[in-house]
């Protein structure tokens, strides 16, 4: 392979930088058009939204509930093992609840959502593009940003925070099942410790804010990758992979920033 000169490498680096900025700009314009652009979708936006809430939200329920249950159970088991060596196994409930509400609930739900619903959104929109359904909508005089993208984007915004809440509730229930029913932690102290230590504003609300931010970012990435993909089978496959990778990295990166802002005490 030909060895690249320093000038050539600097040029390629500059080109990559311009591409990243260009892509960020394009996705921002795309988002603004979806959210604030005018467009005619007839009188069926609510119906379109309900349909998408079902496929994006309801269809993700199984994976969220099952994952939440197991993660709560594992947390209780590990917590009991560690805490019992200090004689503090009564604090298992507090540990499970805080871990789920502050971190694992929003983050794991967002990661699962990116894998289950995000990739499906990208593939579906990409496929519509490759089969000229989006072009066909445009030529019928219907803006695909309002008819196809907007209901999916709003469905993601609404679904993910709700799924996060369900994940946390099921996780705590799974934790109680292991700690109280199986390992014999006294249920009075399990729930009382949890109730005393969990603050609605600091823990529940902050977890909810995280999930709203993740919902926004994950769904935005998913629909943009689908809309912007190359309309070939290889292009759709690349876009789907990008959705999962970018969304996961964005969730983990943003989680650190949000945690620092919410719990960093500065």
């Amino acid at each position: 392979m030909r060895r690249k000169s320093i000038g050539e490498r600097i040029r390629l680096l500059g080109r990559a930088g311009i591409d990243v900025v260009g892509s960020l700009g394009a996705s921002t314009v795309f988002l603004l058009r979806v959210l604030f652009g005018r467009g005619n979708v007839g009188n069926g936006f609510t119906q379109l939204l309900i349909k998408q809430l079902f496929s994006v939200g309801v269809m993700s329920l199984v994976i969220i509930v099952v994952s939440g249950l197991f993660i709560g159970m594992v947390l209780a088991l590990q917590g009991f093992n560690i805490l019992s060596s200090y004689g503090s196994e009564q604090a298992v409930g507090q540990m499970v609840a805080l871990t789920l509400l502050r971190e694992l609930g929003p983050v794991v739900t967002a990661l699962l959502f990116a894998g289950r619903a995000g990739s499906a959104l990208t593939a579906e929109i990409g496929n519509m593009k490759s089969t000229e359904q989006l072009s066909s909508l445009e030529m019928i005089g219907v803006d695909p940003l309002k008819y196809i993208i907007a209901p999916r984007l709003w469905a993601g915004f609404i679904s993910l925070p709700l799924l996060t809440m369900i994940f946390c509730v099921v996780g705590i229930w799974g934790g109680a099942m292991v700690a109280v029913d199986w390992l014999g932690v006294y249920d009075g102290s399990f729930w009382a410790n949890m109730q005393n230590s969990v603050s609605f504003e600091k823990d529940v609300l902050n977890g909810l804010i995280k999930s709203i931010v993740f919902a926004f970012v994950v769904t935005w990435i998913a629909v943009f990758q689908g809309y912007d993909c190359e309309p070939t089978s290889e292009g759709i496959s690349r876009a789907t992979t990008k959705t999962v990778v970018y969304a996961s990295l964005a969730v983990l990166g943003l989680d650190f920033i949000l945690t620092a802002l919410m719990f960093g005490d500065f």
């Binding site: 058009r33 652009g37 005018r38 467009g39 005619n40 979708v41 007839g42 069926g44 089969t131 000229e132 359904q133 072009s135 066909s136 445009e138 030529m139 019928i140 005089g141 219907v142 803006d143």
Partner: protein, 269 residues
Amino acid sequence: MSADPAYAVELKGVSFKRGSRSIFNNVDIFIPRGKVTGIMGPSGSGKTTLLRLMGAQLRPSSGEVWVNGQNLPALSRSDLFDMRKQMGVLFQSGALFTDLDVFENVAFPLRVHTELPEDMIRDIVLMKLQAVGLRGAIELMPDELSGGMKRRVALARAIALDPQILMYDEPFVGQDPIAMGILVRLIRLLNDALGITSIVVSHDLAETASIADYLYVVGDTQVLGHGTPAELMESDNPRIRQFMKGIADGPVPFHFPAADYRDDLLGAR
């Protein structure tokens, strides 16, 4: 510059580039109102791109695209979507909405753009489907239709709002002889019965020439020639003659540009 009412679509000095590659360079095309106009040219000559420029799905690098008296590149996004109600497009693949059945596909433009009562929508859909011979298929899903049937349903959807301009992107590709004959007749029939302007983009010479009132031949970023099918058949231009007579090699080369064949074969050792 304003538009001439004799023409439904006017492309004036249009250039279009993809990256650094020029697809069209300063092209003028005038589509007469109420006629069937064929746009022909070899594969890869940019015919579908031309159709997308006329529908403003692509913006020209320079030049004007006038449709029914409006310069499309100058319209706002929402005005453009309004303008497109006057156009219908039959895409090469049909582009039916895969989650809707045949009836809902054809009813879609009516539901979005009109507030007609349900029984009237049903009547219109049945009339459009009757015109393309598929009234009996209203309950089928797109994946239950053959390629030719999909295109006929898409045609019924394209005429649902009674557009003034109907554009066909390679309507004859992959059609069996029966479906081909039906489509050829339909295009002519719809044009004459509805008094619309039809633009047929195709490289199927015999079929297009048999129904077109006027033809444009494009290639090499230019309009190579235009006229009635009879005029183009008699053209002295060697490029047009090669295309119209279907000669394999000539000014439009059969081979993609490549290194010397002998050097290529021997150089590999």
